[in-house]
């Protein structure tokens, strides 16, 4: 119930903001015509508005949401992936991938040693595969030999 209502309210806000912004588009070069850049967005805003009101009025029963601990785990994984993205270029592919995959395996319940080996193994194999077989260059980062 509550989940659908929140989504409905968010989508209604989105529809209003999106539609309002569409109505503020500057007039295109060469004067306005019967249809412009705002026509389609306005149509979408109206449809989204009606659908989200329906969701607020008639929500479905909620699915079970995970407890705090699992939510923390999920947040941890998302942050881990973001850190991976940020470190990829500066640290290089092999190091950041080893870290990301190992920590992820460990969080999913594997023991530390096999996790580390999976991380290192997948990092090295994919690095070699991409750089030498597929010829797509992944960042070498601080491991650059030259």
């Amino acid at each position: 119930m509550i989940g659908d209502r929140i989504l409905g309210i968010l989508m209604l806000l989105l529809a209003v903001a999106y539609g309002w912004e569409a109505s503020q588009f500057p007039e295109p070069f060469g004067g306005s015509e019967a249809v412009g850049p705002e026509t389609f967005p306005l149509l979408l805003a109206v449809i989204m508005g009606f659908a989200s009101i329906y969701m607020i009025v008639k929500p479905d029963p909620d699915q079970e949401w995970p407890g705090t601990k699992t939510l923390f785990d999920l947040g941890f994984v998302l942050v881990l992936l973001l850190i991976f993205a940020a470190l990829l270029a500066p640290l290089g592919f092999v190091i950041s991938t080893t870290l990301m995959v190992s920590v992820l395996c460990w969080r999913m319940g594997a023991k530390p040693l096999p996790s580390g080996l999976t991380g290192l193994g997948s990092a090295v194999v994919i690095y070699l595969l991409f750089n030498f077989v597929l010829e797509l260059h992944l960042p070498a980062g601080i491991l650059k030999l030259t």
Binding site: F25, P28, L88, M100, C105, G119
Partner: protein
């Protein structure tokens, strides 16, 4: 005759050594992806798109590889349905009804072989159907004007939930969300900036490949973590195959009937593979009647839904190729591939890119034959894959998805977007909002807007042009029917499918 010529040309494309290799790689990877726990066909194709893209494969090679992946994943998916009674996706549900009892009786190898043969027949017949039907439909679609196209795109969204769809309003929300995302960027017609907030990266819009990978692959990882699935399935054992010619002949009529039904439901908007396998199974049960032992491991109970399922999957390519309107998640992902290769699907595809289309169609035939040959001797290897623990598998799959995205433009921003879409996909799935309409909205948005504008420019702003021809009124009626029908038929069909499964489980406990 013309069609035969094109088909021969298609074989000339498909049978080059390079393309044969891509078909084989695709078939192998697809079966692998299908057999691995937690990776459906749409997911598998999604992960491979960025790779095909950044490797700079030609459109024909990419499409041949990805359609083989698609076919392979359907083959691979049934391994867990039969051996473990865990259907990989909804259409596979009917296969467990007789497949698992066969496995319990120690006939797992036969069940797998029968399902492979039935799938092959289903795909083969459906590809032939595609060859006959697609050019006709494409020629017919040349009569469509912008108003008809706008109606057709609406129809695609309206029927996407399928007859078994649960909450149609959520499909509408998802579609609107996807379409909204598609309007981000510089407007093609006027050059106006829309929703870019002066962020340079947004000028070209949001890349739907990133969205697809995030929505499918990353949200899948989050689901695995939420459910604490970390151990693999207990290793399943496989008996020695003992299949006689008479067994194959025994399931032949069933497979043929299932294929025809499956193909029809694949082509029809909104019916899809679930309905295909369900109808094939139910009809077969009715025809064979008391002579069969359905639900207790009748081989025909495996053959019917498998033939229907695969025929429907190939049938779904008909509207995708001829109209540019996909009817299922996986065909939507294939459409994404085509669009990102700058190939515009639709009726002109058959004239402008004849070589590509017929090459892909021929590759479907070749790929299916390859899969049949590959699957029967190698099924033992794939069975072993079932026991790979997800705690090692999912991180590596996520890595491959991320590397694929990164290799498109070497930008960390794309990865942030991917993670963002992953979170969005997780939340939407938790609220039972379907993801496919979001993706389809992003894909079809630009084309849909263009046809709306085109139509309204012709009529000088008069909206009634959208409902002015008989053809467009017809399409609109089907669209409305597609939105309304699930409310009437949906609960009924779902209940029947669930009842059939529940009955089986009760009987199993009684044994």
């Amino acid at each position: 005759m013309e069609t035969m010529n094109f088909l021969l040309q298609g074989f000339a494309v498909a049978l080059t050594p390079e393309h044969l290799m891509f078909a084989a790689i695709g078939a192998m990877l697809g079966t692998l992806i299908g057999a691995l726990p937690g990776l459906g066909p749409a997911n598998g194709v999604a992960i491979l798109i960025p790779l095909a893209f950044s490797l700079g494969l030609s459109p024909a090679a990419s499409m041949i590889m990805l359609t083989s992946v698609y076919a392979g994943a359907m083959y691979g998916g049934r391994i867990s349905s039969i051996l473990l009674n865990i259907p990989g996706d909804e259409p596979a549900m009917m296969t467990t009804l007789d497949g698992y009892p066969m496995a319990v009786k120690g006939k797992a190898a036969e069940a797998l072989a029968i399902s492979a043969i039935a799938s092959f027949i289903g795909s083969l017949l459906a590809t032939i159907g595609l060859i006959i039907l697609a050019p006709i439909l494409a020629r017919f679609a040349l009569h469509f004007g912008p108003a008809e196209y706008f109606a057709l795109f609406s129809l695609a969204f309206a029927t996407l939930g399928g007859v078994t769809g649960k909450n149609q309003v959520k499909t509408v929300v998802a579609a609107a969300l996807g379409l909204m995302i598609s309007t981000v960027g510089v407007d093609i017609t006027t050059g106006n900036q829309r929703y870019t907030y002066n962020i340079l990266e947004l000028y070209e819009g949001v890349d739907f490949i990133i969205a697809i990978v995030g929505l499918f692959a990353v949200s899948e990882l989050l689901f695995f973590i939420e459910r604490h699935i970390s151990e693999g399935a207990a290793s399943a054992t496989l008996n020695k195959l003992n299949l006689k010619m008479s067994d194959i002949l025994h399931i032949l009529p069933t497979s043929l009937r299932g294929s025809v039904l499956g193909f029809i439901s694949g082509v029809l908007p909104g019916a899809g593979a679930s309905l295909g396998s369900f109808i094939s199974y139910s009809l077969e049960k009715r025809i064979v009647g008391a002579k069969g032992y359905f639900g207790e491991g009748d081989p025909r109970g495996v053959a019917a839904p498998e033939a229907g399922n695969n025929a429907a999957a190939n049938g779904a390519l008909v509207p995708m190729l001829t109209l540019g309107v996909p009817g299922s998640g996986t065909t939507a992902v294939l459409l994404a591939m085509l669009i990102s290769l700058n190939v515009q699907p639709g009726p002109m595809l058959f004239t402008q890119n004849a070589e590509l289309v017929w090459g892909v169609i021929a590759a479907l035939l070749v790929g299916n034959l390859m899969l049949l040959v590959l699957n029967i001797p190698m099924v033992g290897v794939f069975v072993k894959l079932l026991s790979i623990p997800p705690k090692y598998l999912m991180p590596v799959v996520t890595l491959i998805a991320a590397v694929g995205i990164y290799s498109i433009s070497n930008s960390a921003l794309d990865l942030y977007f991917m993670v963002g879409f992953g979170l969005m996909g997780y939340l939407l799935r938790k609220l039972e909002v379907p993801l496919v309409p979001v993706i389809l909205g992003m894909l079809l948005g630009p084309e849909m807007e263009r046809s709306l504008r085109h139509a309204l420019t012709i009529s000088d702003g008069d909206w009634s042009i959208l409902f002015s021809s008989g053809l467009s009124i017809g399409i609109w009626s089907v669209a409305i029917l597609g939105l309304a029908l699930p409310y009437i038929l949906g609960p009924l069909l779902r209940r029947r499918m669930e009842n059939a499964r529940a009955r089986m489980e009760v009987e199993e406990e009684a044994d």
